[in-house]
């Protein structure tokens, strides 16, 4: 979680909480009415995937991607046939960041995450980098790797 040590002005109020807590406290209506500038700041400073998903569902995928100035650079299907997309985001400082869109095989919900491999050119490369080593099982954000033998992903749920 991003801890912000000083108070900052956000949506007309001074806050000294981290962005995840602020977004969790805000009503859907207030999130929906945030300015694009505040929303962009919120989306770039919150790193809780569930809160990010909640905000995206409130504001809609189209506005979410527009605010982040996201452009699709690669698309493919994952192992169970769900679509994945890799976006490039250019922020106001013209810093490029890669964002990965995946569908949770268990819930069908869409998640967006910044993959550790920011040089990735494909969705698979980006997705693979979200675990520090090859895993045999994936249970949401929990990966399990066999200590001995092959680690080919056999179950993802």
């Amino acid at each position: 979680m991003n801890k912000i040590p000083v108070a900052f002005l956000f949506d007309g109020e001074w806050w000294s909480l981290d962005m995840t807590t602020i977004l969790n406290l805000m009503s859907e209506e207030r999130i929906k009415n945030l300015s694009d500038r505040d929303l962009k700041f919120a989306l770039r400073t919150n790193n809780n995937l569930e809160i990010q998903r909640k905000v995206r569902e409130i504001i809609g995928l189209e506005r979410y991607l527009k605010i982040l100035n996201a452009k699709v650079i690669h698309e493919e299907l994952d192992a169970v046939g769900n679509p994945m997309k890799l976006y490039e985001i250019n922020d106001t400082q013209n810093v490029k960041t890669i964002l990965l869109e995946v569908v949770c095989p268990s819930t069908g919900r869409i998640y967006h995450m910044y993959p550790p491999n920011q040089e990735a050119k494909t969705c698979s490369e980006a997705k693979e980098s979200t675990f520090s080593k090859k895993i045999t099982y994936r249970h949401g954000d929990v990966g399990i790797a066999k200590r001995h033998g092959d680690n080919e992903l056999i179950i993802e749920t």
């Binding site: 979680m1 991003n2 995840t20 969790n24 770039r44 400073t45 790193n47 809780n48 995937l49 569930e50 809160i51 810093v95 960041t97 949770c104 268990s106 819930t107 995450m113 910044y114 993959p115 550790p116 920011q118 979200t130 675990f131 520090s132 080593k133 895993i135 045999t136 099982y137 249970h139 949401g140 954000d141 929990v142 990966g143 399990i144 790797a145 066999k146 200590r147 001995h148 179950i155 749920t157």
Partner: protein, 98 residues
């Protein structure tokens, strides 16, 4: 099983949804010198479940969240590998949080 043992079996938890990823069954969970979590699954096997944390920790009740089906782990040694993200603000790699 004692409460602290039930807590120890939690590999990861959701910050806002009250869920947790728990290993139940014949398993010892240890930490190596580098802080990595190792699962030593015995002959009876173990299961990775996605449960509500409070009923599990307080009453040993297995209340499934309805998300992430059980994964059966056969006897052997496994490493827990947390999902990681890039944090564009701090320019660091951090553990994924949900």
């Amino acid at each position: 099983m004692k409460k602290n043992e039930r807590t120890q079996r939690i590999l990861a938890r959701g910050e806002v949804s009250g869920h947790c990823h728990v290993v139940v069954g014949d398993v010892d969970i240890e930490q190596d010198a580098d802080g990595r979590i190792i699962l030593k699954v015995g002959n009876e096997g173990a299961v990775l479940k996605h449960l509500l944390e409070t009923p599990w920790v307080e009453e040993e009740k297995e209340v499934w969240t309805g998300e992430h089906k059980d994964i059966t782990l056969s006897p052997g040694v496994y490493d827990y590998v947390p999902q990681i993200n890039y944090d564009p603000i701090t320019d660091r790699i951090v553990k994924a949080i949900d």
